[in-house]
Symmetry: C2
Subunit: 611 residues, 2 copies
């Protein structure tokens, strides 16, 4: 049974209720005590024992066989599985030889005096203990049964405790103020993916914000120099796996702070709130620039739990006779990059390499060539034959490769070559682990700061225009402010991401606190409609302090800490990937009267004139 | 300057930032220390002193007059009021005779070495210190300036601390689990006033729930036997003063608990989280049945801080010759009721009594007669003359009235007579207090449980049908269960309200945990569409434990504790009574493209065909 070791000793789970103890807490030290327990019938062994369960664990109740206790016997023998039962009795030792060392309460059992059936359970469509193995749709439909599993109890209780510790750290230790900000707000400029909420004024809508960004900055202007909130946020991304239409972030903002200050705060926060049953965290977390991350891992959220870093091997091929490599090196930003798959010859099959090559072509339109180092096996790859011996030797030496390793080599534009190898690095790690190689220890947590992101990126639709890499309130890097007015595409930002085991779990920045600079960014660089943000620009003009902050994705963080496969496993009532609540059937049709006050009507697809 | 005395000593407000101290914390004990402070320019005295402010308080900075410090002098003299400034300097004693005992930092000042203008402030439309006196519309438009006031800083910081203490009590002391429940849900049956959120499926809508009621009960079924959440709730009541479209409740649910258990929990919760700068609370809180409350106070949320209780004086008039009293006593439920206004003759004028009488007629269609007890003044009321001397003596004796008091007498149906006098009781209290009588000490907090509510009430539209007095999940009183199937209108419930100083600040109940009983209530008594709640009914069938809970209205509670006039004063960014955010101008018009994915279109009033 999963139990949190961080469980506070002082917590009293039995205050205000009839039970005297939880099922899971009883030990030999309780011998002789009269106890009252409430729980669910887990199972029965013949008509002799009933195993009672609560969130805390299991306890064995001895079913009395005595004639005088016939009614208690009948009740305990007939209560269907998962019925709710209250028993009062004495904690006694199990007879010698009958102890169960696998069960925390295995030394004792309950000699029952009275029993009461609090609620009976109809026949379940499945057994609770197997519930986690059922299809997700079934788990979601009967979520209230799924929640009884020890895994779900552990997940949500750990989440509650982590959040509580975070609050203690922020509020009690560091003077942060927990302030609630509105979720009925207005559309953010350029903020797609915002749910709308019709108001009673025709044509006017509230919008459910993706984050409290504007409000937290306005709180800084309002003199609340240390704000936090465990904030509900909303994002309508249609159907996407591992996304929820509502999610939670630990939202933080401070005045008079720099990037190092926020980073130190977060390191302390995570260290303080880290579950006691996990390895403690070491701080400070390592840091890496955006450019380094792309160069070495082909992504801005590197999984640094294992190596297989991307290596630029262009120099080895400066004088190569291999034509396509020659050609690529002549291109602007043309490079040749390699990663090394340790033991690739041993663990991966030719079919795997076919998949890898196809993946690169399909997803990146990029050729990737495997390179086998074992002399005997060199015949497997046509590319290996093309290599000169000195090129091969240089490669092996630069990559520090072993005989059984395989290199994946690609030639292409720098960023693209890194991206494809970054993705293949992860794919190969999955393949190796599927073959039994341990690359990523599940008990290890690698935090990493990624810093010095670009402030702007070319728009995908029109690369001659710029958009914010994160959001328009991000401050430029102090060394790059002059470039804002000349070459904005080259400006680095004061944005920072926090990455855990290859997942982005947080991001933040120092914000612009100068109204003119903010207006320049919005109007001149981003060509946004400034009117929609006039309140914020005006606020910056009225004595806004320098400030910065961060937001941690709580669902993702708890998901990684608990090691469960999906964020749906750390949310009590999640939506399906299509945004449905499979238990209650939300969203649902409403009557015309329900929407009448909001001056809207439904456009059925058949009458919709799509262009 | 308002300061929370509950401020934890261990909080470090200066961690992670450049400042070494807050402006407000410096004292003689810091003499000689070099400090760095960040704050807003509150005001200047000539070119000699600058008063710097942060959330913590004010500090006097000596503007250097030395030639060598010309640039610092210039900066400090020229920074506009409300600019943000950072100064580094030494804490020194003020010269003898220049101490300011009214200022917590009044014994010291800062000898400044360096200063930096962090941000300049444009000319404000008003002075910050007068901001609270401005119209509410102006305060809301510039909310970020309003928040700098010491009152708003106090309110929101107190709120944060109270909530933190509540969390410690629930989570750390009593093993409650903080669980977030969805706000994108589906329409509750009979749940008017729910905002709708269009989904990407034509005609299907989410609904923003008024409370997590269903989810908290499902969590009990899921084995989370102690749940709490500081939950955002939504209610669309159009334009109502003192209502917010989104509000916060401290939401609690427990399994295996009875009404007394919940009450004890809440008493402990409030006692534990009560601000240290207020008088401590005494527990248990007094309790009163719904019937008593109506009889004595004419309302289900009595303000028990003062007397003036309603007294039934029917018996005095059993043999009266006054015709309209005779007639009324013959009616079913016909009664004669009185309240006593202490010092009424002295403090209230004839005009006041005209207003009182008109109020009763206009709002309740009920005649109310003032009765003057002073012999000399008896001519003032025609009704007084009708009374026999023995009737008058009996009244005076029953009411315990003094010569200068005035009685308000009304004859009518019991409930109506109580209601009108209950309302007049409050009106008269306001009048007396406006004349300088102290009836309700602002430092006194009177908590009261109101219990034994009716389970059902006749529907206003059709009194032959019943509706839930609170919600359909409320359990009947154990003594009244048999009546459920015979005379449901007589069933008392296991609902309880918590009242503070005449305001309802919480309500809860023991819930129905038996599926059959729940179905009977929904289907047979309430005639609701059971299909919409099939998931809940099914959950009750699968081993639902007995459970109950409560929700506290956090905004209202903090409003009463801080003693501010409106809940808008304890919410960082409230909406106006019309539901507008006056700062950002939400809700706002959106483009047709913004709502296109949701298959809705706006019905302009001119094209709406209202029936």
């Amino acid at each position: 049974y999963l139990m949190l070791s961080t469980q506070r000793r002082i917590s009293d789970f039995n205050s205000f209720v009839v039970r005297t103890n939880t099922c899971g807490e009883l030990r030999s030290s309780h011998l002789g005590q009269e106890v009252t327990l409430c729980g669910w019938v887990q199972y029965r062994r013949q008509s002799l024992f009933l195993i009672l369960r609560d969130f805390h664990g299991l306890i064995q109740v001895v079913i009395p066989q005595d004639e005088s206790a016939a009614s208690v016997k009948k009740l305990l023998c007939e209560a269907p599985i998962e019925s709710v039962v209250q028993v009062t009795g004495t904690v006694i030792s199990r007879p010698p030889g009958q102890q169960n060392p696998k069960m925390p309460t295995g030394e004792i059992e309950i000699e029952v005096k009275t029993a009461e059936l609090l609620n009976s359970c109809k026949k379940l469509p499945f057994e609770i203990k197997d519930f986690m193995k059922k299809t997700e749709a079934l788990r979601m439909k009967y979520r209230y049964l799924d929640l009884r599993s020890s895994q779900m109890q552990y997940n949500l209780r750990l989440r509650s405790q982590m959040v509580m510790k975070m609050r203690e750290y922020l509020c009690n230790l560091h003077g942060f103020v927990d302030i609630e900000t509105p979720t009925l707000f207005k559309k953010t400029p350029g903020g797609a993916k915002e749910f709308v909420v019709p108001s009673r004024e025709p044509g006017k809508f509230y919008s459910l914000p993706q984050s409290p960004q504007q409000f937290k900055q306005l709180l800084m202007v309002g003199g609340f120099d240390r704000y936090f909130q465990v904030a509900r946020c909303y994002r309508d991304e249609g159907s996407k796996p591992e996304r929820q239409p509502e999610f939670t972030q630990v939202d933080i903002e401070m005045s008079f702070v720099d990037q190092a200050g926020i980073q130190k705060l977060i390191e302390g926060l995570l260290q303080y709130s880290w579950p006691k049953d996990k390895n403690p965290l070491t701080v400070p977390f390592p840091s890496m620039t955006y450019t380094e991350a792309l160069d070495l891992y082909g992504t801005d959220k590197p999984d640094t739990r294992f190596g297989m870093k991307i290596v630029d091997v262009s120099d080895i091929f400066r004088n190569t006779e291999i034509e396509f490599l020659q050609d690529m090196l002549k291109e602007p930003q043309g490079t040749i990059k390699t990663i090394c798959i340790p033991g690739g010859t041993k663990y991966l099959k030719s079919k795997d390499f076919e998949v890898i090559k196809k993946f690169a072509v399909n997803h990146f339109n990029q050729e990737v060539s495997p390179l086998f180092l074992k002399t005997s096996g060199s015949g497997k790859s046509p590319f290996t034959k093309l290599l000169k011996e000195e090129e091969k030797t240089a490669l092996i030496s630069l990559m520090g490769a072993q005989e059984e390793d395989v290199l994946l080599l690609t030639a292409g534009e720098h960023k693209k070559a890194c991206s494809v190898l970054g993705k293949l690095r992860l794919e190969c790690a999955d393949l190796l682990e599927a073959r039994g190689v341990v690359l990523r220890d599940p008990t290890v947590f690698h935090f990493l700061w990624v810093v010095e992101f670009p402030l702007f990126l070319p728009k995908e639709e029109d690369p001659t225009e710029l958009e914010s890499a994160h959001h328009p309130f991000t401050a430029p890097h102090p060394s790059d402010i002059h470039l804002l007015y000349t070459e904005p595409e080259k400006v680095r930002s004061q944005h920072y991401d926090l990455v855990l085991n290859g997942s982005e779990i947080g991001g933040g920045s120092i914000r612009i606190h100068n109204a003119e600079q903010q207006q320049y960014v919005l109007e001149t660089v981003l060509k946004e409609d400034v009117k929609l943000l006039s309140h914020l620009l005006q606020a910056l003009d009225f004595g806004a302090p320098p400030h910065g902050g961060i937001a941690l994705g709580l669902d993702r963080l708890v998901c990684l800490v608990t090691g469960v496969p999906s964020i749906r496993d750390v949310i009590a009532f999640p939506k399906s990937f299509r945004g449905h609540d499979l238990m209650s059937n939300a969203p649902d049709y409403v009557s015309p009267e329900d929407i009448e006050p909001y001056h809207i009507q439904v456009r059925r697809p058949e009458v919709t004139d799509r262009k």
